[in-house]
């Protein structure tokens, strides 16, 4: 069975001896009693006890409350105050250090026993909670994606580090504030109306957006409560700049290739038809025995070139299609939110 170590901080020898014997009887281990605040802080660090029973009035410069504050911040060891003071002011000060119990002397064995049990239980629960919080945070921050959880009032409930970094704000600043205040509309998160829409429709939504040269794919998921209602939305924003750049490159390479093909078509058509024209002109001069036959052959070749011409016209259509989409992308990037002028 695990040994539970308790440190006693008490400057009255008789009281501390009584407490120690009570604790040992209850099955706890009491390796040490200290009688001042400074020693309490030092021993707390060395022993790392499971619990500290702390008298409020101590000899020396440091009071029990002050020592408790330091120990709490440094070692997060649960502390129970044990004091003869029961006035409101002292109690109020002691409460500030978030003690795990407050026992007024003279105490009864039963209240000490239950006080310690409660404190140990509460502390173990808090430790578990903190651990699970750390696990969740580790998961949230393990991704480079920015994550935000908002409630129906569009207030930020939780936010991960990548999102805080992206917005150049501390997570503490972001949590609790309205998403519309901290994130400019149109970037990183969909517009307000869209958020209202997702709350009512309950369907997730995805959009691609550009901000400061970086492309983001933002997805908004409704978060279902146990009763099936939607009280919160999770927003995930993924950096897709790399993918976008590759797409742009592919597009421009495609356009270049088609432009090259079109040029080749034009050159070929002209190179074939010009000698045909010369032949036709030569034929018009003087009389030729096979004039009609030669003209017939020229027509056959020209019919083939007409097919090449069609290929060129098709390429032109593909080309202008690509250019249109290419430029649309460029336009929407330079003018986010401004729709293209209608051409009707």
């Amino acid at each position: 069975m695990k040994v539970t170590v308790i440190l006693i901080v008490e400057d009255e020898f008789i009281t501390s001896a009584a407490i120690k014997s009570d604790l040992i009887e209850m099955g706890y281990t009491v390796p040490l009693i200290v009688d001042n605040g400074q020693a309490a802080i030092e021993q707390a660090g060395k022993l790392l006890p499971d619990l500290i029973l702390m008298d409020i009035t101590l000899r020396g410069k440091i009071s029990g409350i002050e020592a408790a504050q330091v120990i709490r911040e440094k070692y997060s060891i649960p502390i129970i105050f044990l004091t003869a003071h029961s006035d409101d002011l002292t109690f109020h000060k002691a409460i500030q250090t978030e003690p795990f119990g407050y026992i007024v002397k003279p105490y009864e064995s039963v209240s000490l026993r239950t006080g310690i049990k409660m404190a140990l239980f509460k502390h173990s629960m808090e430790t578990k909670l903190r651990e699970s919080e750390r696990t969740v945070l580790a998961l949230l921050n393990a991704t480079p994606d920015a994550l935000v959880l908002i409630d129906r009032g569009k207030k930020i409930v939780a936010v991960n580090d990548p999102m805080c970094r992206r917005l150049k704000k501390t997570c503490a600043e972001l949590e609790g504030s309205s998403i519309t205040d901290v994130i400019p509309s149109g970037i990183l998160y969909p517009g307000e109306e869209m958020i209202d829409d997702i709350f009512s429709a309950g369907r997730s939504f995805c959009l691609e957006d550009e901000h400061g040269g970086t492309w983001y794919e933002t997805t908004v998921y409704p978060v279902l409560e146990p009763d099936g209602s939607i009280a919160r939305l999770a927003i995930q924003s993924h950096d897709i700049t790399w993918r976008k750049n590759v797409e742009e490159q592919l597009k421009s390479v495609g356009i270049e290739q088609i432009e090259h093909n079109m040029e080749q078509f034009q050159i070929l058509n002209d190179q074939i038809r010009t000698p045909l024209q010369a032949i036709m002109l030569y034929l018009s001069r003087g009389e030729h025995k096979y004039r009609l036959q030669i003209e017939e052959q020229v027509k056959i070749i020209d019919t083939i070139v007409v097919k090449l011409d069609k290929g060129w016209l098709e390429s032109e259509k593909v080309h202008s299609f690509l250019l249109r989409h290419y430029h649309q992308d460029m336009d929407s990037r330079s003018n986010p939110g401004i729709s293209k002028e209608g051409r009707t």
Binding site: F265, Q266, I267, N269, D270, Q271, I272, R273, T274, P275, L276, Q277, A278, I279, M280, L281, Y282, L283, S284, R285, E295, V298, D302, V305, D309, W312, L313, E316, K317, S320, R324, R343, T344
Partner: protein, 203 residues
């Protein structure tokens, strides 16, 4: 005697055109490219320029642009004569600037027939121009009217309708047609005493 300026980088075409069109009664001068063409134009004003397109380093369209930009040559009628069909973009951009677009290879009869038709349209244009100006029309409006008419003529010959408005072409053509009708109404309202020959093609 009408003077033709043949611009083509193929020597056989230049030579045969010179010979054959001289036989037809034209005075023919020729240039092997855009630069030489502009050089000729700085000294002489032909009645018609026949321009090949695929030429290096200055192609036919670039040459046409330079001709139209220079006030001294901007009014000289021009025909494009090429082995490739015009693209939609070219029709939109240059359609109003040319009298005709001929595709190689053509028999001599077709060529002379086209030349006759071009000169006839040109005569009609000049008459219309004069008529409207005499009736107090804005010269710029008359120029625009004739430009639209030339564009619609080329567009009818090489229908270029990709079927999509967003493509640009369908939209441009519709707007130009509407503008042409509007100009025609404006100009027709100016005077009815002496109309130019109404039987000539207008679109």
């Amino acid at each position: 005697m009408q003077t033709l300026l043949i611009v083509d980088d193929d020597p056989a075409i230049r030579e045969m055109f010179s010979t054959l069109l001289t036989d037809e009664g034209y005075k023919v001068i020729s240039a092997s490219g855009g630069t030489e063409c502009l050089d000729h134009l700085s000294r002489t004003t032909p009645d018609l320029i026949i321009l090949d397109i695929m030429m290096h380093p200055v192609d036919g369209w670039e040459t046409l642009e330079l001709i139209r930009k220079n006030p001294a040559t901007s009014q000289i009628p021009a025909i494009m004569f090429s082995g490739k069909s015009p693209s939609c973009k070219e029709i939109i951009q240059y359609g109003g600037w040319i009298e005709d677009y001929l595709m190689k290879p053509l028999g001599m009869l077709t060529i002379t027939g086209s030349l006759d038709a071009v000169f006839e349209r040109r005569r009609f244009d000049m008459a219309a121009h004069q008529h409207y100006l005499q009736n107090g029309a804005d010269p710029e409006l008359v120029d625009e009217y004739l430009r639209m008419r030339r564009f619609l003529f080329i567009h009818d010959k090489f229908p270029c309708d990709p079927g999509e408005d967003s493509e640009g072409t369908g939209w441009v053509t519709r707007r130009r047609k509407a503008r042409f009708e509007e100009l025609r109404r404006v100009l027709a309202a100016l005077g009815t005493d002496k109309k130019p020959d109404p039987d000539l093609p207008v679109g």
